[in-house]
Structure formats: structure tokens, C-alpha cells
Amino acid sequence: MESVLSFGLALVLAPLFPGIILKVKALFAGKQGPPLLIKYWTLAKLLRKGSVYSTSTSFVFRLGPLVACATAIAALLFFPFAGKAPLVSFHGDVIVLFYLLGLGRFFTIAAALDTGSPFEGMGAAREAFFGTLAEAAIFAVLILFFRLNGSLILAGYFTGNQPIAIAGPQGALLILAVVALFMLLLAENSRVPVDDPATHLELTMIHEVMILDHSGPDLALIELGAFYKLFLYAALIASLLKPAGLAGPFAGTLAFYALMAVVYVAIGITESLTARLKMNMVPKYILTSFALVFFAIILTVEIA
């Protein structure tokens, strides 16, 4: 029951947090910014609209948003929010989780290519390339976690007697992992400095350009999927940051969501303080995160 509740809470709250990013960015720019609930309004607006389909697209185009959103929700099923047992959990579920996200990406790319637009093809090429590099870094993180904890179950990382956390014995090592995960979060969720979610310039976009032709409920699904994906990455970081000793179900959940808010505020600050990278620097950026985790893995070898 508790698992269902925490999963439901995550689904409901995920669109709230991107509003925090917008608010932080607005404050840095000396503006009031949109209301915190803006993303809910956006979703409601999009869901009320009709969708327009180009005659040059096929069923692949319509499948893209559905799969992207469904895989992101499915990925959340494995996550132990605030240390609660997840709804689904089995040996090796972390690998399934990231390949579920990979499946979502595959269908988003396929839908983009289906339009035949040169813009979307360009975006798809970038997404595929950068996604491939990011995958290497993600799996390096998983290797690190496996070495620390011996588990291949996502829930196993953050629950039980020896959770992987900065407050734990290997905390110093995990700082590297947290930084790397934050860099990956920015890269995988099309945030600055890799992508600019606010731009209107198609030639510079990565993720946004792939969904240019989607409209109405389809776009709402894509947005929702993106919120969940970002939520998942932020939750990974928040779980690592979680201090020990917050046992109570209420206090634990509260602390978890407070840390989530901190992660989102950090995203907002990063986006306000840095400009975007040149496109040809993005691979270096992603590989830097890989190098950080790789270094952490080497340190675990020393410990062993």
C-alpha cells in the first residue's frame, strides 16, 4: 500500500518540480517568473487540444509519444522513493530500467525520423549520438554501485542496512558519482549546458527539435514523459544525498522531496550561471562524467 502511495505521489508531483527550475531562472533574470504550477496548466492546455498529423507520417510518429511516456512511467515503478519498497523489483532491474528509457528514446527518434524533416533528422542524430555516450557513463555508475553494494536491484541500492549514500562510509567516493550523475541529468534531460529547453532556434536544438511536429495530447505525453525522466534522475541524486537516521515514513518522505527540490534548484542555478556548450564540446562533457565515475570505480578497487 505504501509503495502504491509513494509511486502515485511521485507521478502527481513530477510536473511540479520543473516549475521550480523556471522560478529560479526567472529570479536570476530579475523577473517574477511563471507560477509554480505552470507545468500542470500546460499539460491541461495541451490535453484539451487536438493533434495535427502530417500526411507524410505513419503510425510510427503516433507511437513515439505513447512509448516515451509509458517507458518513463514504467521506469519509475522500480524506484524506491524515499526508501519505500518499489512496486516492481527483481534481480537486474536497473539494467531493465535504463533500457526502458533507451526504448523510449528509440521511439522518440524513430518518430522524429518519420516526419522526414531535415531539422528533426538532425536532432535525432544528435540525440542518438549523445545518448550513446551517456549510456556508457550511466553503466559506469551502475558498475560503481555494484562494487559498493553488490546488488543489481535498484531498491537494493537505497534500502536495507547499508544503503549507498553520501552519509555512509563510502561517502567521499560518492561525491564523484553525485557530480557525474548531475552532469548526466543535465545531458539526458536536455538542459543547459547541453541543450536549451527554452530556445526557439531549431538549428541549435537537440530534444526539442525532435518533437516539433507533435501537438496537443501527443505533446502532453512527451512533456509528461520528460518530467518523469527528469524526476527519475533527480531522485537518484536525492537518494544518494539522503542523510541517514530519518526513519519515520513521514519525515523520510519529506526529506526526500526537500532534497528533490534542492536538486531542481541546483538545475535552475546551473542554467542561470552557464551558457550552452558548443555542440562539438558535448561529447567531451558527457565523457567527463564518465571519467569521474570511472575514477570512483578505480578507488573502490583500492578499497577492496
Binding site: P118, H200, T204, A275
Partner: protein, 503 residues
């Protein structure tokens, strides 16, 4: 150089004084001129009875004029003398059906039928739509892909078509096709009453309302022999600098926004509005429309307005400096600006770039310094230090010009108030059979208007040149071997006018 007549900026010349030489000599004179650090200000055709004449206004450290007579075609100067003639020749071919033989790439400029009734040089059927009617340059090969952008764009900007030939993310060639906003301004000006000229000129490019209108009014003043009071000249100078400030500040903000560095984009956006509001104080219009009219300005600048402008500049200067520091000290921003979209000096010289884009490439040409009008002869010139020709240099030149413009306005306002009377529009008799060319340094660079009157003093030809006419080619060249994702940034660093080009 005896074949060239030296003229002044805004000086009326009887048309019979303009040297008329035969084409071979014309070709030789122009070829020699552009090879020795000479540039073209205007080069256009006009009908004289049954004959067609080509008139060229040239500049080095002085202005010169020369003309020749041609039949249906003539050997291409682009081929023989260089790329500076490229667009001018294509424009002549489009406007009057005169073919430059041997032009390396004879392509239409704005897609309209010519005015002379001659057969179309390009073989176009103007009843059909524009896209697809252009012989686009193509790079072939399996790894090459073509990206077409526009003419309808994502932002609220003007229409223009950009065709990229790319190998992966790298742009091999960019072709820019404009003309979507062609309104026929030049021909319209010869048909409407003189009182409407300034109004039309204010609409040539909405962001250069003062620059273009100033050229028009100075030309009318020269042809009608009107004197302008010093006080009115001060107001005009201030207005031109305010226009420069508003646009340059807006550009820096937009450059910042294009690299996703939000705070300066937001601050500059607001500060731009403050300068537009100062223009509002001067004349009741945020873009300075209806301020400049032949003979002076329509609204005298009073003591209160001087105080408001002074106070505002004092208030904003510090803020501008701080936001500039924020933008130019962010290393992630510098990483995007530096070595991006470089137009080196040799290339800029070959193309004849003008304005901040030219200065950013090391071409030290500023109309305010070379051919000063209004109060510029009394004011200090600007020297730009960043001359690498990249996005950084173009941004830096803007930053320097912003500070310079603030200084100029403060200096003008520090001088004692000179009383001047507002002027009203009126039809004025223009000198018959005359020629005048006016140049001003608009915020994009050299704006130039050229007027020719016939024997009755009626307007025979009105030729307009926006600085964008020179600089669009610079943007195309800046993109060579750049990442296609850097195009918006390069484009913004040039920030050229579509409607000023399309006329």
C-alpha cells in the same frame, strides 16, 4: 583619377558635371579604384530617355561619382573587378534587365519583374511562387545533407530563406535568399508627393527609421537648399545615437539569449526599452518616427527633455557596464563567442563589409568619422580594439559603440541649449537636373540614399542602400566550415535587415 568627380556627403552636383565615360574606361577606372582600398557606396542603373546609364558612387577617404552608358548588356564587373560588385550587378539586372556578361553567378536578388520592359535576365515566370524557382547552389555526395530554413521562422522575425549544404554538423555552404518583403520602395518614392518621402523612408527598415529618414531628409535639404539649425542637428544626432543604443543593447541581449545565458538577455531587454522610451520623449514615437523632417525636426527639444535624457543615461550607464561585464566575463559565453563565425580582414575587404561587422573584421570605416553629417564633425570618433572578425569581436564592437554613444549624447547635452524651431512638412522645389548622395552611419553601418532629379526638378531615380546589402554575404561566408548549430549565433551577431535589403 581625373575620370572621377570628387563630391561631398550631401552635396548637390549638377548632373552634367558627373563624368560620363565609355564603358571600357569605366571598367578600368572602377577596377583600379576597388583594388586600391576603394569601396562601392552605390552602383545602380537609371533610364535617361531611351538610354540606360550606370552610376557609381565610390569611396576611399573621399567620395567620388562616375557614370557610363550601356546597352542591353555589358561585361561583368564582378568577374573582372571583384565580389564587391556582385549584388549590385544582380540588382541592376533585376531592376532594368541589363545583363552583366560573364557574371559568375547571375541570380535574382528579390524576385520581381524588371521595370524597363526588357526580357527577364533570369528567365523567371513571376506568376509562380518563389520557393523552388531559385537555382540553389548544391553540394553533391552521399554524406551531404541539405537543410532549408525559412522563409517562415520560429521567432517573430522577418522572412528569409537559408539553404545549408552540410556534411554532418559542419556547414560547407550557406545560401541566403531574400526578397520576401520586396515592396518596391524605390519606385514608390518616385510616384508619391515629396511630403510622403520621409514617412516611406522611416518604413524602409523599422529598426533604422532614423538612419534612413535622415538620409532622405538630408538629400531633400541639399536639393531644396534648406538650412538646418544647429539645435535641430543636435537633436538628430542624439536620435541617431539613441537608435544605435537601443539596437546594440538589444543585440547583446539576444546574443546572450542565443547561448542560453539568460540574465543579461533579460536585463538588456529591459534597458533597450528604456532607450526606446527616450526616443518617445523626443518625438512621441519609440522608434523615432516623425521626428526628422526636411529642414530640421518636428519637435524642438526643450530643457525638460534634456534633463530626462541626461538623468536616464546617468542612471543606466553603470547598469549597462555591469551587465556587459557579466556577459563578457562569463567564460562559458566567451567559449561560444570566440573563434565562431570568423570573417577575416581580407575577406571582409573583398566583400566590402560596413558598419560594426566591418569594424569587427578590422575595416576602420565609420561614416561618422569619414564623411560626417549633423554634429559628428565636432564629436570624437571611435576606435575598436576587437578586430578578429568573430562573434566575440562583433559583440565587443557593439559594447564599445554603446559606451561611445552614451559619451556622445552626454557631450552634446553638456553644450548649452540652442533654441530651434520645429519644422513642418511642405513641398519644396528641388534643384533640377541634379544629383545628391547622402550617407549616415546607422547602427548597422553605412546607410546611403541617392537622388537624381530631371530637368523639371521632379524625382527621376531614388536609390536606397541599406548596410545589410553589403553584409548579408559576410554572414554567408562566416558560416563556412562552422557548426550548423552556431548559425543562429552568427546570424544574431550580424543582425542584418531583411526589409532593408528587400526594399
Amino acid at each position: 583619377m581625373a575620370s572621377l568627380l570628387r563630391i561631398g556627403n550631401g552635396e548637390v552636383v549638377p548632373r552634367q558635371h558627373i563624368p560620363r565615360i565609355d564603358f571600357p574606361r569605366f571598367l578600368r577606372v572602377l577596377t583600379d579604384f576597388v583594388r586600391c582600398n576603394g569601396y562601392i557606396v552605390q552602383f545602380f542603373a537609371y533610364p535617361e530617355g531611351e538610354r540606360m546609364r550606370l552610376l557609381a558612387v565610390l569611396r576611399n577617404s573621399e567620395l567620388h561619382v562616375v557614370e557610363t552608358e550601356v546597352e542591353r548588356d555589358y561585361p561583368s564587373l564582378t568577374l573582372l573587378a571583384g565580389a564587391k560588385f556582385n549584388l549590385f550587378e544582380r540588382e541592376i539586372a533585376e531592376q532594368y534587365g541589363l545583363r552583366p556578361n560573364g557574371h559568375p553567378w547571375l541570380k535574382m536578388v528579390r524576385y520581381h519583374a524588371n521595370a524597363s520592359g526588357r526580357p527577364d535576365v533570369f528567365g523567371n515566370d513571376y506568376r509562380t511562387d518563389i520557393p523552388g524557382n531559385y537555382p540553389y547552389y548544391r553540394v553533391e555526395g552521399e554524406a551531404i545533407h541539405e537543410v532549408g530554413v525559412g522563409p517562415v521562422h520560429a521567432g517573430i522575425i522577418e522572412p528569409g530563406h537559408f539553404r545549408f549544404q552540410c556534411a554532418g554538423e559542419e556547414v560547407l555552404h550557406l545560401e541566403i535568399q531574400l526578397g520576401y518583403q520586396h515592396r518596391g520602395v524605390e519606385r514608390l518614392l518616385t510616384t508619391v508627393p515629396q511630403r510622403r518621402w520621409p514617412i516611406l523612408c522611416e518604413a524602409i527598415a523599422g529598426d533604422t527609421a532614423i538612419g534612413h529618414n535622415l538620409c532622405c531628409c538630408q538629400a531633400i535639404e541639399a536639393l531644396a537648399g534648406l538650412d538646418v539649425e544647429p539645435g535641430a542637428r543636435t537633436v538628430r544626432t542624439i536620435a541617431l545615437e539613441l537608435e544605435r543604443l537601443a539596437n546594440h543593447i538589444g543585440d547583446l541581449g539576444a546574443l546572450s539569449g542565443d547561448v542560453a545565458f539568460n540574465p543579461p538577455a533579460a536585463y538588456f531587454g529591459r534597458i533597450r526599452g528604456e532607450f526606446l522610451n527616450l526616443l518617445l520623449e523626443l518625438c512621441g514615437n519609440r522608434f523615432g518616427k516623425s521626428l526628422v523632417r526636411p529642414g530640421g525636426v518636428t519637435q524642438a527639444m526643450g530643457g525638460e527633455q534634456r534633463r530626462i535624457i541626461c538623468a536616464k543615461i546617468k542612471e543606466l550607464r553603470e547598469e549597462i557596464v555591469q551587465v556587459c561585464d557579466l556577459l563578457f566575463s562569463a567564460h562559458t559565453v566567451l567559449a561560444r563567442f570566440e573563434y565562431t563565425g570568423t570573417v577575416n580582414r581580407a575577406l571582409a575587404d573583398q566583400l566590402g563589409l560596413v558598419g560594426p561587422c566591418g569594424r569587427a573584421s578590422g575595416l576602420e570605416y565609420d561614416v561618422r568619422e569619414f564623411f560626417p553629417t549633423e554634429r559628428y564633425a565636432d564629436l570624437p570618433a571611435i576606435t575598436n580594439r576587437a578586430t578578429n572578425g568573430d562573434v566575440y569581436s562583433r559583440a565587443m564592437v557593439r559594447r564599445e559603440e554603446i559606451v561611445h554613444a552614451l559619451d556622445l549624447i552626454e557631450q552634446l547635452l553638456a553644450a548649452p541649449e540652442e533654441a530651434h524651431q520645429p519644422v513642418r512638412s511642405a513641398e519644396r522645389r528641388l534643384a533640377p537636373a541634379s544629383f545628391v548622395v547622402t550617407l549616415n552611419e546607422g547602427w548597422r553601418g553605412e546607410v546611403s540614399h541617392c537622388l537624381l532629379t530631371d530637368d523639371d526638378g521632379a524625382l527621376l531615380r531614388y536609390k536606397i542602400k541599406d548596410p545589410s546589402f553589403h553584409n548579408w554575404t559576410g554572414l554567408a561566408m562566416a558560416l563556412r566550415n562552422q557548426a550548423i548549430s552556431d548559425f543562429p549565433l552568427c546570424n544574431k551577431s550580424f543582425n542584418l535587415s531583411y526589409c532593408g535589403f528587400d526594399l
